[in-house]
């Protein structure tokens, strides 16, 4: 990296706004300073009805335009065209997390993983509302955004994940800012991914640290797939550098034989896998990861911290007190908030130990759409397991992949994998299936 990171420089550059906001925030928190007049007026804006087409039937508001929310919005309309569906999403453009590792490695282009919410809404007859949810009044059935409120008959929250840097020993807000800005995880698609791609392609040599968190993190195989992609680029570009993959888990969490084979057979000189690394801190300035056993110096990194449910779930008071990852307190078979059949939580904020991945979210979304459509008519439907189908590309030349396909069963106490089909012998047929799988999902969500 050419630029040296200086804490001082950061404070000077961004200081005006960031430090100012922090002080103001503290003052408001302490109840000393009132909001300035225009900020107070924002409350009045929120308290007006948002300017959306009039609801023509029972309205289902879906919060979050990821794989879960997009699927729900489409399939609610397919289940019952009389439902009025509004998808609220703060991002203006869809960028896919699945397949993004392939884009990092140059195997697909940016257009392959980037799509228009407008296409999705127009082609599937629902309303896209580009706004940020601030609060929900479950008594009055209103969702508040910065552009006004939306009434709902049913509400589905699919806000995805946030990062828990505290779990890797980084708690000070300034340190979290530095770490998430300089070494972003790149598991929430957008600027993080663009940064990472640049880092990989500008890397001049040395150690490139990638990490695998503990717990049920977003997409179990993705960090291993990413390690393979980055190592493959180093190998291809003849860069004297290697990926140092620090895993909080004692071994590769899924498709172990397939990934180990790739590490050993393809990337012996460009990838080092270190299991059971419990990270206790990251020093952005010294470029050092400390763990309870070792310290690891790096030249560049993408630090994937622990994952928790999106903060919106906590803001709305829906966190399950027993969930170590702050996931929502819902009925595990019906997805509604315990005690409220009008509000549902799906996707990566759910507390069930399902894979936090695209296919899982989509199969689950179809089921929850069916369930809500039935409940709106006073019926009910039986629980259906989500299905996890997940390809991981481990080689770029030739392009080869491994895969897993599984559903879930409930044994009376907990959920576990069942009907598992795993292909650990990498081949190009699986790689072609990877692209076909992605195309069919994008097609289904956006056209």
């Amino acid at each position: 990296m050419a630029k040296k990171i200086s804490r001082r420089g950061f404070l000077k550059g961004a200081g005006g706004t960031v430090a100012g906001a922090a002080v103001a925030g503290m003052a408001v928190g302490a109840g000393v300073t009132a909001l300035p007049p225009r900020a107070q007026a924002a409350g009045a804006v929120m308290n007006k009805k948002a300017e959306l087409p009039k609801a023509m039937g029972a309205r289902v508001v879906v919060v979050g335009g990821g794989w879960s929310g997009l699927t729900l919005s489409k399939y609610l309309k397919k289940e019952d065209s009389k439902l009025d569906v509004v998808l609220i999403e703060p991002r203006a453009t869809f960028m896919s997390c699945p397949i993004s590792n392939l884009w990092l490695a140059g195997l697909v282009d940016y257009e392959f993983i980037t799509h228009s919410f407008l296409d999705a809404a127009r082609n599937n007859d629902y309303t896209f509302f580009n706004a940020t949810v601030i609060d929900v009044d479950r008594g009055a059935r209103k969702v508040f955004t910065e552009q006004g409120f939306v009434d709902y008959d049913y509400l589905v929250l699919a806000p995805g994940i946030d990062y828990d840097y505290g779990a890797i020993g980084v708690s000070d807000p300034e340190d979290v800012y530095m770490l998430s800005t300089h070494y972003p995880a790149a598991f929430k698609p957008g600027s993080e991914h663009l940064s990472l791609k640049q880092k990989i392609h500008e890397f001049e040599g040395g150690a490139f640290v990638l990490t695998v968190p503990s717990g049920n993190y977003r997409c179990l195989p993705a960090p291993y797939e990413r390690a393979c992609m980055v190592a493959a680029i180093f190998k291809k570009e003849r860069i004297k550098g290697k990926v140092l993959l620090l895993d909080a888990n004692p071994d590769v969490t899924i498709k172990g034989p397939g990934f180990h084979a790739a590490f050993e057979e393809l990337y012996k000189d460009h990838l080092e896998y270190v299991p059971s690394v419990t990270i206790t801190g990251v020093d952005v300035h010294k470029k050092k990861v400390t763990s309870e056993f070792d310290e690891f110096d790096f030249d560049d990194a993408a630090i994937y911290p622990r994952v928790r449910a999106a903060k919106l779930i906590e803001t709305l008071g829906l966190v399950d007190p027993n969930s170590p990852q702050k996931e929502a307190h819902i009925d595990p078979f019906k997805y509604n908030v315990v005690g409220d059949e009008r509000v549902y939580v799906t996707g990566d904020s759910r507390p069930m130990p399902f894979s936090k991945s695209g296919n899982t979210a989509r199969s689950e979304g179809k089921f929850v759409a069916k369930l809500i459509a039935a409940r709106a008519k006073g019926h009910d439907v039986e629980w259906e397991s989500p299905r996890t189908i997940c390809y991981s590309v481990v080689n770029i030349d030739p392009m080869e992949a491994i895969m897993v396909d599984a559903t879930y069963a409930y044994d009376g106490e907990s959920f576990g994998f069942t009907n598992v089909k795993m292909i650990n012998d990498r081949d190009s047929i699986q790689a072609q299936s990877t692209l076909e799988w992605a195309r069919s999902h994008y097609r289904d969500m956006f056209s």
Partner: protein, 174 residues
């Protein structure tokens, strides 16, 4: 029989039990050695399959031989564990003994028990007299929520114990 003998018997039983059960093992991949391209491919121990899981023990069976009628005092030993362990496969713990080398006395052995594990005895140990301090960290498997107890035995036979309750959400024992 004194307690020292018991400790030794325990360790021998632990290892012998593991060795004799090898008779029932078969390879997950193939049985015995296979010739692949002129090289002998040995089945790895981690790929072996057993017909039965190992036997289970009660806390009584495991604890009594060590207590041998003695009542542990509940001070000097500190067992630190998370009250809530997310993953039973990896539960961290720390055992400290206050002033373990006071006067002529020293900690001769440390023991750890998880009441509800299939085998409640996690380890026995022997310590030299001149280590300077006893402060250990390990990671263990827990099948389910359980009381965990750490016992320190002094060279004069005095026992000290600390217990803690750990809630486990995902079992670490299969």
């Amino acid at each position: 029989m004194n307690w020292l003998m018991n400790t030794r018997l325990f360790t021998e039983t632990l290892s012998k039990a593991a060795l004799t059960r090898r008779g029932l093992l078969r390879s997950a991949a193939a049985i015995g050695a296979t010739l692949v391209f002129g090289k002998v491919a040995r089945s790895e121990p981690e790929d072996l399959i057993a017909d039965q899981p190992p036997p289970e023990y009660t806390l009584e069976e495991r604890l009594q031989p060590i207590l041998a009628g003695r009542e542990p005092r509940e001070d000097r030993v500190t067992l630190e564990m998370p009250a809530y362990a997310e993953d039973g496969a990896v539960v961290p713990l720390r055992i400290k003994v206050d002033d373990p080398f006071l006067g002529s006395g020293y900690v001769k052995s440390l023991y750890l028990f998880v009441d509800n594990n299939p085998d409640p005895l996690i380890f026995t140990s022997k310590l030299a007299p001149d280590l300077g301090s006893v402060d250990w960290k390990l990671k263990i498997r827990m099948r389910e929520s359980s009381m965990v107890r750490a016992i320190a035995e002094m060279d004069n036979g005095d026992l000290f114990m600390d217990t803690t309750e750990v809630e486990v959400s995902i079992s670490g024992c299969g």
